[in-house]
Subunit: 331 residues, 2 copies
Amino acid sequence: MHTIRIAQMGLGPLGIKIVNLINERKGVKVTRAVDCDPRLTGQDLGVVCGGKPNGIKIVSSIKELNRKDFDVVILSTVSDMLRIAPQIEDIVALGVPIISTCEELSCPWRISPRIAGRIDCAAKAANVAVLGTGVNPGFLMDLLPVALTAVSQRVDRIKVSRIQNAEFRRIPFQQKIGAGLSLEEFEKKRLAGTLRHVGLTESMYMVAARMGWKLDSTVDELSPIVAEQEIKTPDITIKPGFAAGVQQIGRGIVAGEEKITMVFRAAIGEPDPCDRVEITGIPNIDSKIEGGVNGDIATCAIVINAVRQILNCPPGLQTMTDIPPVSYFSE
Amino acid sequence: MHTIRIAQMGLGPLGIKIVNLINERKGVKVTRAVDCDPRLTGQDLGVVCGGKPNGIKIVSSIKELNRKDFDVVILSTVSDMLRIAPQIEDIVALGVPIISTCEELSCPWRISPRIAGRIDCAAKAANVAVLGTGVNPGFLMDLLPVALTAVSQRVDRIKVSRIQNAEFRRIPFQQKIGAGLSLEEFEKKRLAGTLRHVGLTESMYMVAARMGWKLDSTVDELSPIVAEQEIKTPDITIKPGFAAGVQQIGRGIVAGEEKITMVFRAAIGEPDPCDRVEITGIPNIDSKIEGGVNGDIATCAIVINAVRQILNCPPGLQTMTDIPPVSYFSE
């Protein structure tokens, strides 16, 4: 197979990590880079990613690039549909397919049908595919449970749990989940929306669409996980009564019945971290990934792995359940 | 969605079970039935399946049917490529897509490239898709590990284990795995090939193809699991030193290194039954379905679930890793 040439758009911490992980792999190569931050524009990509100069100059807009220099764009800029849409339209206008880490793009059909439709039309007109993916949303809480129902004669309910012990995660992640905050501070941040994991509702709609369930309503509740005793790690000390992390629960309701439950927990000292799918039906299925999947690497990896599938997809806005399974590849 | 109309071809125990499970579901319906056994031809399908007459008369050949009366054929007749090929050619000549339980059809490209190519050409000429699937091969030991590598930055080795406790399975299954045989009898049956689970090598090629690994050789070893003490169940008593079941191990070798290991164990009293995928790489992934997936229902279910995907597939001979994920559906 030919090496797939990638233009990386968005060079925040996630974009930089994606570039560095691509550099470790065969079959994929970063050939162009885009970021609108004037502090980055004109700089060498290799240097910005913490390595040696590689001769790739960061440009401020995709429009400055020659379409012949890359096969696919990885777009890791923003998390919401409203801001990602014009960026996608600029890229597909060049006739280039897109893999994006934008959480809301993972399954926008019920939540943002107008913008989704606009992106779908633009992609089809340009004959390219657009996909939002990531470890979550995009895999652990949506594609994986859907794929596991392949062996189901009947599915009554699906529960998906993502339980993470944040003890050994990066400090920004620990801050993001509110670890160490008083409950008052936690509540302030909850109301400001900064503690929220984006994507639970998207995952529920992705699962429901495949099961043939029409969700009458969805719930997405966020609360602190409170330390019962002092938790001490090299990075942080959490006093009893303070927040050790966050719990977010999604519920998908059909005719008054909770058909889908999503449990997302991330806290310092969380026991038994795992990714678990429980399908109630015929047969019952209880699938568990011991220790859970570390999101730091996995989110980048799934985006990189998806570049091969996106080149062979039918045109339009796709979800992870619409396309052949993304997998690792090594050639 | 419209109800998908199915012609069931092959009315052995598996075919009958498929028909009965389709009858319990929405969105799918058996409208025609084919079996070449003269004892079945002309009989009512409902009666043959152990129920009331349903007015569907079993015919001896697909050629006797009107193509307008069904949308897809489920083909559960034989396990080998040589005998399935002419059956497939007759069906696709009518312009009808096929889901088959034929184990060797699940990934025949490396093992039977000529017949696979012939089927692929015929299917493309008729503009329909053909898929071999089942719980194993087709899902637990091939698609599932492939799909789990979506989050892998690097994959070094894959081990898949399917461990089944045959204690509560049907007596024919217990006989199939050699439970209760003396080791001499077991060895005779091993040499005759009647104890063998078909599909381990197919699963290895399916995984290898997606990882980009070119297997230099494959091994498929079969041995008895010997009872250490007496095992007594309502159905069977196994004396110490006799076979409690079978162990089959597949090994996929790349440049002298065992990159793929498949462990298939089925025995009376087998402790800790499960379906497990262990991926060594970055990150390491250890995924386990507690208790394992019961193959009796699951094989039928995955075949039924696949009828929806097959109608939207690109034409040709497909494998489970080529198409969007098969899932349960309820409408």
